[in-house]
Amino acid sequence: MTQLALVIDLNVCVGCHACVTSCKEWNTSGQAGPMPDDNPYGADPSGVFFNRVQTYEVGSFPHTETVHFPKSCLHCEDPPCVPVCPTGASHKREADGIVLVDYDKCIGCKYCSWACPYGAREFDEHSQVMKKCTLCVDRIYDQTLPEQERKPACVMACPANARIFGDIHDPDSQASQMIREQQGYALMPELGTQPANHYLPRHIRRGSDDSA
């Protein structure tokens, strides 16, 4: 069985937010859109985004690291957001493991978002349905796009090539290989959600006689 996913390489992510806005740009006019914005030109502008880039600081000066941390829906293999949905709008596809919301079925009860520990769902207050990363399902199978463009918008945009898209159940996929070779890990493993998206950790390369 296929499980499509993103592998995010924290070793090279520079935190540029390209994945954030390219995602918004593709999806707002796509089937998952629109992704509305409130107060777009006023105080506290706030909008629907499927992907965010956060920043963490590790350690204290001068041994500080800054880690940029992109996060979208992790397309969990055991997605807690699915069974709780009373309407079946929130579902995980058999064929490729993508977790989606069917806007036509969603009653906007928000229950799925309570069940997601990752804060990966965003409610569209205007059309009153739950929205989230679709793994760009309307790109990746689109036969009218050239083959090399049948990838999520965020993956295509990423200047650091820090986002790898692929089938993590296929041991030969680049995604699986990178997870294997670079100690790819899942977020909040203690929760047993088995996120399909994986993260590759930082690797520090030291100089020859760098004792620091």
């Binding site: 954030v20 107060n39 204290s60 309407t87 009653i107 309570w114 009153q128 929760l191």
Partner: protein, 317 residues
């Protein structure tokens, strides 16, 4: 979590309805068992009407929680997996039974029929309590909720408030024996709720000290000092609105204090006075006090939950 008022009203109102329904049936048992009590169909019929009204009000409140109430019917489809779906099935079912109960009494159905309907109703009523409680208790990661105590609390609070309401109802209906009876049961239920809610509070306070999910597990960065410096957005988003109550710690503590005082001592005092003096008015006050307290209790029930997603939304930068 950000407390949703529609859900606060839904759960508290149907709780009263459910408790009241149980009380009516207990009342009927007494009615049958004791010669000095003779209530007549009107009491049950109007009682059923009141139950139905509470349930209906709760239902209306819940509709405001939905973005698309016109599609609410779809919510019955996932009963295999979703407690919410189950609730959506059980609540109308319960209402149907109550409706039949009410209609039956208006049409003078006999005691046997009433008790049978009542028994079925009580089973469904408890099922409803379980569904409502499980909606919260089944969310494993929301550790403040993920305990059987959640279901127990729902049952005890609903029943207590329902019995106290029933006591007031009996009082106004000129049934001092029942006022006393319901009042006493209501008091015991309130005390039971005090124990289970108290236990829950203690349990949850301890949970905070032993977080299972931390910034480290959330990011996979295993270092004792990991701090978020930016959540990636500044003007707020669904994630910063839905999962944070947005109140200062002091305000939250005051709300907790308010509910603890209102739901327990104030209610009990008024209730004891009411039953002792046979005052429907005081018992009504007891109900009002408890209900207000329960709104605060339910608010706190949401607010206390520290959703693991909040780890990702700590800092604007």
């Amino acid at each position: 979590m950000h407390p949703a008022f529609s859900v606060i009203f839904l759960t508290t109102l149907i709780g009263v309805g459910q408790g009241l329904f149980i009380a009516l049936n207990i009342g009927q048992v007494f009615d049958l068992a004791r010669d000095d009590i003779n209530l007549g169909h009107g009491f049950y019929a109007w009682g059923g009407f009141l139950v139905l009204s509470f349930l209906a009000l709760g239902l209306i409140a819940s509709v405001f929680h939905l973005g698309h109430p016109e599609r609410a019917w779809r919510a019955v489809t996932q009963w295999r997996t979703s407690w919410l779906s189950r609730e959506v099935i059980v609540l109308p079912l319960f209402m149907l039974i109550v409706f039949a109960y009410m209609l039956g009494h208006f049409n003078g159905m006999d005691a046997e029929q009433s008790l049978t309907l009542g028994l079925v109703g009580i089973i469904v009523c408890f099922t409803l309590f379980v569904c409502t409680g499980m909606i919260y208790a089944c969310l494993r990661f929301l550790r403040e909720w993920a305990t059987p105590l959640t279901v127990v609390n729902f049952i005890l609070f609903g029943s207590a408030s329902g019995f106290i309401f029933a006591a007031a109802y009996a009082g106004w209906a000129g049934q001092p024996e029942l006022l006393e009876l319901f009042g006493e049961i209501g008091a015991w239920l309130t005390l039971g709720a005090l124990v289970s809610r108290g236990w829950t509070l203690k349990r949850n306070a301890e949970l905070r000290a032993r977080p299972k999910t931390t910034t480290q597990t959330a990011t996979g960065i295993h270092h004792p000092e990991v701090r978020q410096t930016s959540m990636g957005l500044m003007g707020g988003s669904y994630n910063t609105r839905e999962f944070f109550h947005g109140m200062k710690a002091l305000a939250v503590r005051r709300i907790k204090g308010f509910f603890l005082v209102m739901v327990f001592p104030v209610t009990l005092a008024l209730l004891l006075a009411g039953t002792a003096l046979d005052s429907a008015f005081l018992v009504s006050l007891a109900f009002l006090a408890q209900y207000l307290g329960l709104i605060a209790e339910r608010w706190y029930f949401f607010a206390q939950v520290n959703h693991p997603q909040n780890i990702y939304y700590q800092q604007v930068g």
